[in-house]
């Protein structure tokens, strides 16, 4: 699971980002192999989200290069944010259909496909509910279903679980990870939750703050075993790894 064995889906080389005089990210290089789940952890303000924006093509680095072979190859990129961004006036089914409608599918076709997807995400009973009637966890499920409905080859996650309570977060992590693994896609997740990063990722990149640099790279052995994130948290060596990363961020 090293970062050089397969052809990279995303590659950053010597990337620096500046906002005026302020250097947000300095000399960052890493590769995301195809099919891997890579997490970026670090203190708030260390430029994690900036890196995600670079990968998505929303920003340009001051120096260095960013390659996103998935986007350049015309394949779909999906996003998940901390906020679910559901449209209040659409029911769950209609919200899930939004991704397909955005791509120009006829409304009827899109909504029929969306309705078929609901059971996969545990939403089958909630198709006709409006977002205001749902709990935070259910809303995030709907958001994930909407993102996955377009079958993205690359998934960019910006603290997708941080607004949820611990219980819901663990449950959702497990379920969504399973769906994601079945899709065979590549994922880059930004989070400040070290537990979460270690529990779901193949690789964890540790960043230190101001300016943001890569402090360490960890290949995580747990995800490849197919264990659920809850079980990984119980696994031998999990606590040690989390502590190591925590110290790397602190120093």
């Amino acid at each position: 699971m090293s970062t050089t064995t397969t052809s990279p889906a995303v590659a950053l080389h010597g990337v620096s980002v500046r906002f005026g005089d302020y250097t947000a990210v300095e000399d960052v290089s890493f590769e995301v192999p195809e099919g891997a789940f890579v997490s970026i952890v670090g203190p708030s303000g260390c430029g994690k989200s900036t890196l995600l924006n670079l990968i998505s093509g929303l920003g340009r680095p001051a120096t260095g290069t960013v390659h996103n072979t998935i986007r350049d190859g015309g394949q779909r990129v999906g996003y998940m944010f901390q906020r679910d961004l559901l449209l209040d006036w659409r029911t769950v089914t209609q919200n899930v259909a939004l991704g397909l409608e955005a791509q120009g599918e006829p409304r009827r076709v899109a909504r029929a496909k969306a309705a078929d997807l609901l059971p996969v995400y545990g939403l089958q009973r909630f198709g006709s509910f409006y977002p205001c009637q749902l709990s935070g966890g259910m809303r995030q499920r709907a958001a994930f279903a909407r993102t996955m409905s377009t079958e993205p080859a690359l998934l960019l996650l910006d603290e997708p679980f941080s607004a949820l309570d611990y219980q819901t977060k663990l449950k959702l992590e497990g379920e969504l990870l399973q769906v994601f693994r079945c899709s065979g896609g590549t994922a880059v997740m930004v989070t400040h939750d070290i537990d979460e990063a270690v529990a779901v990722s193949d690789v964890v990149l540790v960043m230190s703050g101001r300016p943001g640099r890569i402090a360490a790279v960890h290949d995580i052995p747990f995800a490849a075993t197919g264990l659920a994130p809850v079980e990984v948290r119980e696994a031998e060596g999990f606590g040690h790894l989390v502590r190591t990363i925590w110290q790397e961020i602190e120093s």
Partner: protein, 289 residues
């Protein structure tokens, strides 16, 4: 019009109960229902008290009925006007003028307002014109509009629409501009071209504001048509008020004003109904958690 807003909220929305949350929701709806009933009762009590005091003061001779009229005289004027049909005809004329102006003004205003989201350049170009139009007293334009559109119904419709259009436009534009930028970014990332972002996101995002515009402009539309009738007309409530005013017939002026007020209440109630259908999702949010 806070009581009216209260009126337009749904009493008990038809939603599938969400486990135990269903019971709580009914309680909330019940509470709102009771407080609304209380508000209406208190309104009626206050109104009855004020009218009684007024009538007693007139009967005792301490208030001149010639200058201020009396509830009894106003009531008789209304009864006579309804019986002869003249007041009903006037009310229908004014209501149709105001309704036509209201619809035309809001359609034009909302369409242009939301459409301005497309082009920053056009929006910036139009900004001074909108400010100019917004600061123009429509009453000052009335004589010219009568010259342009004639003395018939159409000039009142134009007056009414002109009173409405700027408010509707500004609110619709604010609604469109207030679209969540992250949601726009999300749709763009999903591959939606601008016209589709407009249809799927910007337009529905603006609907809340456009409904607010309907509420705000209902009264303006009525005022516009009545000012039009003041300048030149042969029917309508404005016409009746003008004639009665020139004859110092205070009860008739007040009676017609009451009818104007009732028209505005009816229009707002109708808007409330429409809003409840269009913004169903919003009333679900208000009624529950």
């Amino acid at each position: 019009m806070t009581t009216e807003q209260e009126l337009s909220r749904p009493a008990a929305p038809a939603v599938q109960p969400l486990g135990t949350r269903g019971a709580r929701r009914e309680d909330a709806a019940g509470r709102r229902h009771r407080s609304l009933a209380l508000a209406i009762v208190l309104d009626l009590v206050l109104l009855a008290g004020a009218l009684t005091a007024w009538q007693l003061a007139v009967d005792a001779g301490s208030v001149s009925s010639l200058l201020y009229g009396s509830p009894e005289m106003i009531w008789r004027t209304i009864a006579r006007g309804v019986a002869s049909g003249s007041m009903v005809r006037d009310a229908i004329t004014t209501a149709l003028e105001a309704l036509a102006g209201f619809v035309i003004g809001n359609v034009i205003g909302a369409t242009v307002g939301v459409g301005l989201w497309y082009s920053r350049l056009v929006e910036q170009m139009l900004r001074p014109a909108i400010a100019f139009l917004g600061a123009t007293p429509i009453a000052a334009l009335a004589p010219i509009i009568i010259v342009w559109a004639g003395t018939g119904v159409s000039s009142k419709v134009v007056m009414s629409a002109a009173s409405v259009v700027v408010t509707a436009l500004v609110l619709a534009f604010d609604g469109a501009r207030g679209t969540d930028p992250l949601q726009i970014r999300m749709l763009r990332s999903m591959g939606a071209p601008t016209h589709r972002i407009f249809r799927l996101l910007v337009l529905p995002s603006s609907v809340t504001n456009i409904c607010g515009g309907l509420r705000l402009t209902a009264g303006l539309a009525l005022i516009g048509s009545i000012i039009g009738e003041f300048i030149s007309s042969d029917s309508g409530l404005g016409h009746a008020i003008l004639i009665a005013g020139s004859l110092y017939d205070v009860p008739t002026v007040l009676a017609n004003l009451i009818v104007v007020g009732l028209l505005s209440l009816a229009l707002l109630a109708a808007i409330g109904r429409v809003e409840r259908i269009i913004l169903r999702w919003r009333f679900l949010a208000l009624s529950g958690e």
